[in-house]
């Protein structure tokens, strides 16, 4: 299961040797991941370069976000751009500094580039993207973050504005491929009008190490879900109850640990035959075990009863349990089709409906597991891809119906993650799958867990009905 190339890459001697000899081996970057629970200042002492064009709406939200998160802001552009950064800079000791792109200090290495393109109303404006990024892209530190903020192209007032806004996605996806070799990532955040202040928790996540395996993705921030009264930066899940299905191993177990580290009481659900493993996880995270087979028609009632009686309700639901039963459609037996659709999609629907009618509290969070196979399709996975694409649609529409209860519903589509599931893939195919991404490696279960944990926090009210890919920028279905 271990990634041989990544191991070589981690060793400075072998890394240097392979580079010097000039072996045609793609050395994957060693990703810098977060350690421990969420911090008050996830960007402590990070050098963040901020640029914008006139008409941009994000400056004050960004200024506050960066100062609170502990970043040192550098401002590119007109002097007036500095103004929104002055007050937060004074309050948190992070004064803004102007940066001339013609005379960048030699020692400056940027941990992040942040560009506000919400003012783009004409393709003419795209030139400013080139002006900002061209000189700075070589100044990125390893494991840096690029975030471009724009408006949703669908909501553009004119065809010209739509062209300019839509261009951002192509730019970001391509830039992510260029900088992935150093473990850096680029994302696009589209912000609905009036939702600008909601970008703070999203930026805290995307600019931090917790988004290490997310690359080249668009995220949409809007104001559909009721905004929570408090946004604690540390232990954001204190006092919350979280249900994680399939928690005995892999992504589920990693997620249970991360949720618990943020203060949640985690109810670890898995099949009765995985009692030993599930109990171990529950014990490690100080949570509870709930043994049930999600495909059992009685399961929704059992889960509801357990959550109500033992925990008084639930705030966070992570539908992680899932199976693969791969065969080409021509050879597939009906039971393989049925069981896959049932466990991956129908059980999710049944349980969600039961929870919504009962124990799920207002202001809750639902996170569903989709897959890039569901987005791109995969040979031999008609059943699996159908179920996972179904999740994307379910997420989108369910979100609309529960938004007024303050509940956010989102899906995660993992790419190649180093788990029991992917360890079973034949060596050659596995090796190719790993490398075919911007970051040139597979992700770890905790990468998916980090994204799930973010989508479980109060601040995730900024995002709903969306599917976020945690795939390292996989080349399939991009």
């Amino acid at each position: 299961m271990s990634d041989f190339l990544l191991e070589l890459s981690k060793n400075p001697t072998t890394r240097k040797l392979i580079k010097t000899v000039g072996l045609p081996v793609p050395m994957p970057p060693v990703l810098r991941r977060a350690k421990g629970p969420m911090e008050d200042r996830p960007l402590h002492d990070h050098q963040v370069i901020y640029g914008a064009t006139s008409g941009g709406a994000m400056a004050s939200a960004c200024a506050l976000t960066l100062a609170r998160a502990g970043a040192d802001p550098w401002i590119v552009g007109e002097d007036a751009l500095r103004l929104p950064f002055v007050e937060p800079g004074e309050a948190f000791g992070r004064p803004p500094r102007m940066l001339e792109l013609t005379e960048i200090p030699d020692r400056l290495r940027a941990n992040a580039l942040l560009f506000d393109a919400t003012g783009f109303e004409d393709p003419d404006a795209l030139h400013s993207l080139y002006e900002f990024f061209h000189p700075l892209i070589s100044r990125l530190d390893a494991g840096a973050r690029v975030v471009v903020m724009g408006r949703p192209a669908e909501a553009a007032a004119t065809p010209r504005a739509a062209a300019a806004q839509a261009a951002l996605e192509g730019f970001v996806r391509s830039l992510a491929k260029e900088i992935g070799r150093k473990g850096s990532t680029a994302q696009l955040v589209t912000v609905a009008p009036q939702a600008e202040p909601r970008v703070e928790p999203v930026l805290r996540f995307l600019l931090s190490r917790r988004s290490a395996f997310i690359s080249g993705q668009p995220l949409h921030v809007d104001a559909k879900v009721t905004w929570p009264q408090a946004l604690p930066t540390v232990r954001p899940l204190d006092g919350k109850v979280a249900l994680v299905t399939g928690a005995a191993r892999g992504i589920g177990a990693a997620t249970a640990e991360l949720l618990a580290a943020e203060g949640a009481h985690v109810v670890c659900l898995d099949r009765p035959q995985d009692d030993a493993l599930a109990s171990q996880v529950a014990q490690r995270v100080g949570g509870s075990v709930l043994l049930a087979d999600v495909s059992d028609p009685e399961a929704p009632a059992t889960i509801v009863r357990e959550l109500v009686e033992r925990h008084g309700g639930v705030d966070i639901v992570v539908h992680n349990a899932g199976i693969t039963r791969d065969k080409t459609l021509a050879r597939m037996k009906p039971d393989k089709w049925d069981s896959t659709i049932d466990i991956n999609l129908q059980a999710v629907v049944r349980i969600t409906e039961a929870l919504l009618a009962g124990p799920l509290r207002d202001g809750g969070r639902i996170v569903l597991l989709s897959s890039i196979a569901g987005i791109a399709g995969n040979m031999g996975q008609t059943n699996y891809a159908a179920s996972k694409a179904g999740i994307v649609g379910y997420t989108r529409t369910l979100a609309e119906t529960v938004a007024e209860r303050g509940i956010a519903v989102n899906a995660i589509a993992p790419g190649f993650i180093e788990t029991r599931l992917t360890a079973a893939i034949p060596v050659m195919i596995r090796e190719v799958a790993r490398r075919l991404s911007n970051l040139g490696q597979g992700g770890l279960p905790r990468d998916v867990g980090d994204a799930i944990t973010f989508l479980s926090t109060p601040g995730a009210a900024a995002i709903t009905g969306r599917t976020l890919r945690v795939c390292g920028g996989a080349l399939v279905g991009a």
């Binding site: 008050d40 200042r41 402590h44 502990g70 002055v86 007050e87 937060p88 004074e90 309050a91 948190f92 000791g93 992070r94 004064p95």
Partner: protein, 430 residues
């Protein structure tokens, strides 16, 4: 709430001269320095020894074999055996903590007369053996060691690099950052210039020098007789002749392109200070004249990885609030000067509306402090900073100043390692 009748009052304070570490007071450890300060206090106040209930002592570098310095002072000075002694440690706020503890004990009625203060001898810091050596030596420390045990011990002590003792340094345990580096960081982040720091330092020196020349400081400094027969009578660190030009020539010590120098930072210092406190009733019964009392104390922590020494910017407003006052009501302000950059950073925060809104939840800034009211007789940059003694030095100076200058209130602020901040409001007792 303390009832007005059981108010603890400051009668008198006295300290040893503050001298540069590894110089005149080299032969006196923190206990000996404490002995000197407390015996000078006993002499000056002529407090009947039988009246003393206890000593609370503050210290940062505590002697490993006798960490309860307070009790050692009681025993060294042959005070009545029933006089209790306990030692407190709160980094550079230890001296103020000792006074806080004594005030609380008196105001609760647990004691009538207390001596509180603190001392530190950087010159006598103990060098710690690595834990590996301690564990390896265990068989020799307990019971009779066989030759085989000894061989075993030797075997565990290789490689030698792992068992060499580590030099003590003033670094944060959690971040590893040396305090000067943290202050350097604060200077950069709060945009405090080298010139502003040097000017502040020069003012501190000039004010302390003037207080020495005028005899103002003499009443709170008592001469010390050292074991090698010398008599140290005066502070040695204050430089009357320093100037902004002279300080500008010094090189930064904590960062290559930094702004902190030996001239605008407080020096490593040996010294002790002690304060006599008692209940107001007791003072009247004993015929003693109280100088001051405390309206409030405030201690608060900040993340040491952020701005390590900004604590006073939070603690001082809290102390004012508890005393029912605003900054404008404080006639005098005394701040511990760990570094000129740290004081100037805190002043900037107190004067900032933005800081008040984001960090204190108030609409308006706490306020500007008129330099004429701030550290009127200089501060730690000039006088020196024996960690545990500074709080008691500040309380002594302010108690005297309230009386001499006929003022009503004084606000104190101290920053301390670990991201701690301390504040207190003193009032004159008439």
């Amino acid at each position: 709430m303390s009832d007005r009748k059981r108010r603890a009052v400051v009668i008198e304070g006295v300290r040893t001269p503050f001298v540069k570490a590894f110089s005149e007071l080299l032969k006196m450890d923190t206990i000996a320095l404490g002995d000197a300060a407390v015996s000078a206090l006993l002499e000056r106040t002529e407090i009947p020894r039988a009246e003393i209930d206890g000593i609370v002592w503050g210290g940062v570098i505590l002697p490993g074999l006798a960490p309860n310095v307070a009790r050692e002072i009681v025993l060294d000075l042959r005070l009545p055996a029933r006089v209790e002694g306990h030692t407190v440690t709160r980094a550079c706020a230890s001296g103020l903590q000792a006074i806080t503890s004594a005030v609380h004990a008196i105001e609760r009625g647990d004691a009538d007369v207390m001596i509180a203060g603190g001392s530190d001898s950087t010159s006598n810091a103990e060098i710690k053996l690595p834990q590996k050596v301690v564990h390896a030596l265990a068989p020799l420390a307990f019971g009779k060691a066989t030759p085989l045990d000894m061989l075993g011990v030797l075997g565990q002590l290789v490689p030698l690099t792992e068992v060499l003792p580590k030099m003590p340094k003033i670094a944060e345990r959690t971040t590893g950052q040396v305090m000067g580096e943290a202050a350097e960081d604060m200077a950069r982040r709060n945009e405090i210039s080298r010139e502003a720091q040097d000017e502040f330092a020069v003012r501190s020196h000039h004010r302390a020098a003037a207080a020495i020349t005028s005899g103002r400081l003499r009443k709170e400094v008592a001469p010390v007789h050292t074991p090698d027969g010398r008599i140290v009578t005066a502070d040695t660190l204050v430089r009357a002749d320093t100037s902004v030009e002279a300080l500008a020539r010094l090189r930064p010590v904590f960062a290559k392109d930094g702004t902190l120098t030996a001239g605008n930072s407080s020096p490593l210092t040996d010294g002790a200070a002690a304060v006599l406190l008692m209940s107001e009733d007791k003072a009247r019964a004993l015929g003693m004249t109280p100088k001051a009392a405390f309206r409030s104390f405030s201690y608060i922590g900040v993340d040491p990885a952020d701005q390590l020494l900004m604590g006073p910017a939070l603690a001082m407003p809290k102390a004012l609030e508890r005393a029912g006052m605003t900054l404008a009501d404080a006639d005098l302000v005394d701040m511990h000067e760990a570094f000129a950059a740290q004081v100037l950073s805190v002043l900037k925060m107190l004067g900032s509306d933005a800081f008040a809104r984001a960090r204190l939840g108030r609409e308006r800034a706490v306020g500007e402090i008129d330099p004429a009211r701030l550290n009127v007789h200089g501060g730690s940059v000039a006088i020196g900073h024996p960690f545990g003694a500074t709080g008691a030095r500040m309380v002594t100076t302010m108690a005297n100043e309230l009386v001499d200058a006929d003022k009503e209130t004084a606000l104190l602020g101290i920053c301390a390692a670990g991201g701690l901040g301390a504040g207190a409001v003193m009032e004159r007792v008439t």
